[in-house]
């Protein structure tokens, strides 16, 4: 079993669905952090069978919307002096801004430069979002 107390200070992203860990590592741009980052994959889990984990040994702002979009089931543990000081569960964001692109080829945002497109959650189960401009439906996976 992995011991959280192995890191003194930082963030542990736990209960990542097996296979999502590397994607979260990439999407959160953890490769750009100079402090240690550990990605564990296929860790045995009583609840999930297998899971991925990320240990980030520094205080870094995490984009909760991106994390929520990739895997809303993760939990985040904040660690101080080797102990977990705060736990946070994620939910799917109701609204995301500037993260997704519209997949509708007829949407104006395909040809005009629009940086801060708002998407609104329309179906939680299927994780479907609606573009604020053309109202087309898309998922985070389709839009990246």
């Amino acid at each position: 079993m992995i011991n959280v107390s192995q890191i003194k200070k930082g963030i542990v992203i736990d209960h990542i669905e097996a296979g999502h860990g590397f994607r979260i590592y990439k999407e959160l741009h953890l490769d750009q952090i100079s402090d240690p980052v550990v990605l564990l994959t296929n860790v045995p889990s009583d609840k999930m069978g297998k899971k991925d984990m990320l240990k980030i040994e520094t205080d870094v702002p995490i984009d909760m919307d991106v994390l929520g979009l990739i895997d809303p089931g993760v939990s985040i543990n904040y660690v101080r002096d080797g102990a977990v000081t705060k736990k946070q569960k994620l939910t799917l964001p109701r609204e995301v801004v500037g993260i997704m692109r519209c997949v509708n080829p007829r949407c104006i945002t395909q040809t005009e430069q629009v940086d801060d497109i708002h998407f609104y959650l329309v179906n939680e189960e299927k994780r479907i979002y609606r573009c604020e401009y053309c109202d087309a439906y898309t998922t985070f996976n389709e839009s990246r």
């Binding site: 519209c102 509708n104 007829r106 949407c107 104006i108 945002t109 395909q110 040809t111 005009e112 430069q113 629009v114 573009c131 604020e132 401009y133 053309c134 109202d135 087309a136």
Partner: protein
């Protein structure tokens, strides 16, 4: 307060605000000569990034009948778009010259983006691809209100391409905001109302059928629509479906005497020319209501009435 607002989709306005526009349209219809100088000194920009003679003429005649003037283009090759200028920049420049902007564009969401660029100048969406065409909905509502006396408590048949029909989706969605309307969706199975759309309607508020003959006697209003060739990948399928419903005298004989027939125009074959003389066929009158409702809308957004 409608002054300075944009109209991107019918849902931008409350029922009360829509009523404000319809009441002004009623007054204009009753006494057109009282309004010939209402927008004197005001300038409307008519930006048509794709051709649409009917809609453009309707807006331009509306502004001119209010005493206002119009500048614009109906071919983007003649605008700075051809020099690579962004839409937002074009809108900012034009809003400096004019008081109100009408925009039609093939890309969906364009009017919303244009509105974001110029928060102080009213923008009217005159059609953004297959997305929204709110003044067509206002036209339909004003026609129904005049010809049936109200916008609630009706049985409304909509017939034709219910899968892709932007006009029909917008009309049904808006009529659904008024109480006690029932819908009869008439289409071949290939062009049925999308499931997501039906899921927005209250249970029991609609029925679906593929037979116009079976239901024509039940409706207060029959809204016919064209099967659009450009929506089909397969030409054979288009040819098979385009003339599934043709409203002719024989069918009209089964309809009630007080029902009305509407169509957003242009029609192709879905309404036989022989029906045009029937007093229940109101589609040409409907186009005229479109001009009146645009007059009322322009005047309200400019804060002139």
């Amino acid at each position: 307060m409608l002054k300075g607002r944009h109209l991107i989709e019918p849902g931008d306005f409350t029922i009360e605000e829509l009523e404000e526009i319809f009441e002004l349209a009623d007054r204009i219809i009753a006494n057109q000569s009282d309004y010939i100088d209402l927008c004197k000194g005001k300038l409307l920009a008519s930006l048509f990034y794709e051709p649409s003679t009917r809609t453009r003429f309707s807006f331009e005649s509306a502004m001119m009948r209010l005493g206002g003037r119009v500048i614009g283009f109906d071919n983007p090759d003649n605008s700075s778009v051809s020099k690579g200028e962004s839409l937002s920049d074009t809108m900012r420049v034009i809003s400096g010259y004019t008081d109100i902007i009408v925009i039609r564009h093939p890309k969906e969401g364009t009017a919303r983006l244009a509105g974001r660029a110029v928060p102080g100048t009213p923008i009217i969406n005159a059609g953004d691809g297959g997305h929204e065409h709110p003044t067509q909905t206002l036209t339909d509502l004003l026609t129904i209100r005049h010809e049936l006396g109200s916008l609630s408590g009706h049985t409304i048949g909509v017939c034709g391409d219910l899968l892709f029909g932007r006009t029909i989706h917008s009309l049904v969605k808006t009529l659904n905001r008024y109480p006690d309307n029932k819908f009869v969706f008439i289409s071949p199975k290939e062009l049925k109302m999308p499931a997501y759309f039906l899921s927005m309607l209250p249970e029991g508020s609609y029925i679906e059928t593929d037979s116009l003959d079976a239901v024509i006697g039940d409706v207060d209003l029959l809204y016919m629509s064209r099967v659009q060739r450009e929506r089909f990948v397969n030409e054979e399928e288009y040819l098979r479906l385009k003339d599934v419903y043709v409203l002719d005298k024989k069918k009209m004989a089964h309809a009630r005497d007080d029902m009305i027939v509407l169509h957003p125009l242009p029609r192709v074959n879905e309404i036989a020319v022989e029906v045009d003389d029937d007093p229940r066929a109101l589609y040409f009158k409907q186009a005229r209501y479109g001009m009146y409702v645009r007059m009322a809308l322009i005047a309200k957004l400019l804060g002139m009435a």
